[in-house]
Point group: C2
Amino acid sequence: MEQPKLRDGKIVRSEEPLNLEMPFENLDGFITPTKSFYVRTHFPIPKIDRNKWRLRVEGEVETPFETNYSELIKLESAKIPATLECAGNNRDFLEPRVKGVQWGLGAVGNAEWTGVPLLILLDRAGVKPSAREIILEGADCGKIEDPKSPAGEINFARSIPLDKANGVLLAYKMNDVDLPPEHGFPVRAIVPGWYAVASIKWLQRIVVTDKPFNGYYQTLDYAFWKRRGDVAELVALSEMQTKAEIARPSEGEIVPANSNVRLHGAAWTGSGEITKVEISSDDGATWNEAKLLGESKPNSWRLWEFDWKTPNRPGKATLIARATDSNGSTQPPERDPDRGTYMINHLLPITVEIR
Amino acid sequence: MEQPKLRDGKIVRSEEPLNLEMPFENLDGFITPTKSFYVRTHFPIPKIDRNKWRLRVEGEVETPFETNYSELIKLESAKIPATLECAGNNRDFLEPRVKGVQWGLGAVGNAEWTGVPLLILLDRAGVKPSAREIILEGADCGKIEDPKSPAGEINFARSIPLDKANGVLLAYKMNDVDLPPEHGFPVRAIVPGWYAVASIKWLQRIVVTDKPFNGYYQTLDYAFWKRRGDVAELVALSEMQTKAEIARPSEGEIVPANSNVRLHGAAWTGSGEITKVEISSDDGATWNEAKLLGESKPNSWRLWEFDWKTPNRPGKATLIARATDSNGSTQPPERDPDRGTYMINHLLPITVEIR
């Protein structure tokens, strides 16, 4: 197997734009250190002077306004842990191979985010009754190499429905220090429970709209097909799907025969909480419950561990983890092809070697 | 120049699916004879037994119901002329070449359509106050060869906003005879003023919905980009754009020097009526008004003619026609690349030879 190129301990998935993955076997705590946190960019990282940074709030509001960094950080703030997962995490497991960054297991992380609740800014602006969605726009921009894309440069942008605004944070700190440039300095959105594409980095504009926003990053990209009778409808990716991942042992790892080996990993979901993680070492014929660690915290992953009695005989063994959440969502055994290149949460066995 | 393959006097643009174009130089009257009318299909033409055909009306209605052909033709009917233009008409003129059927000037026609107003069926079903759009679904279906398409087969379908329902016809006759199979037998929609993609053929289902429909044929296909500040938004193609086309002389035609030559053609628009057609034979430096023929009829093209005094000297000459409608819409000099491969109505010169 080809050895991946590393930078600061992260796997380089692409240089331009910069896409870095955490080797998931390095998972070692509830909070992912910022230096280990995966990085996803679509365009060059904007160079933003915090003193010149402005955030505009406009659209279907009574009083459009512009704020700046020093004003923003004086507002009432909140600090929450939240798990961010790239909507294309695990894409490297898809067969046949599909376009997009070939993420393994590590385009996911859990950090503490400090920032201003979006509702505070919306209240100041005064949202009109006509409001239906909120567009969050980043400063990152460029031309998309896709014949069906807009002809010129566009900025990265995404919308959330108005009723999702509650809980969204405009974060300026990650794990108690200022956001680094690659994570959205000086201010990014955190949309808890949703795939990270919604958590716009380098935030520069908030537009309240009276109709659904059909931007590039929720139609031609970051969308999936939903069946409706004989037709299919394009739907923007939103909530993270229920998933458990095994950190250790990792793919190809050698484990001793006839021993007790600690399996551990993390599990997360879009809403509700993880209620169960199960492990199968016989291709899904039987399942045993893993132990959930720590306390359940909203919008964050739950670490888990499992004491695995390894087989007596040397050879290969497959391990599968399966999560279930409080809404009863669990992981499907097979891939749904209408999900395109995203939302990969079907059961993914990893193979280890018994010696 | 390669001689195009003809079938029944129409240019064969593709065999499977069947796409046939009218040589626009054959334009010779307000009504396009059915045998000359361009044919656009996306999938194999459905073979439908009129006696077994059913049309369902469902969704956000008080009383969903199903009707059949003999019931339908007993309902109050209307007969209207309407121009249908393929949203990709003139694509062959685009440089660089783009994907899609390479239509010249003739993916447009004007016919008389007899059918039942859509409102009659909607009234029978009782549209709920929650209704926002109406999905029209055809019986034509298949798998789309596009990595971003839905994974399985889908039916051709498109939506119109509720307020566009007024004026839509469920047509069972074209130029006073039953629809031929390639034009949607036994029943098709006619959505006047809109690109023909909206006028669903082989109609089998009408679904009233409470939110915008993001089907394949109005997002990943048959859509364009609309700028909204720093972002762009995908918008389904709808109204036909104002356009004049020259039928004769045609591209490359030889015309006598120092003579009076009759130019003629047709002009149409999405709403309102054509108020002016102008001709330039000096690359747009000067324009002269053509004569509009007959009477203006809603949703139909207007034929026009122009008496051209040809140059004294032999050589090449370019001719440009430009239409203006009662809303003040006219044809732009340059192509807007955000329109992708559709809505081609910028000024298109044709070249003739003076001898």
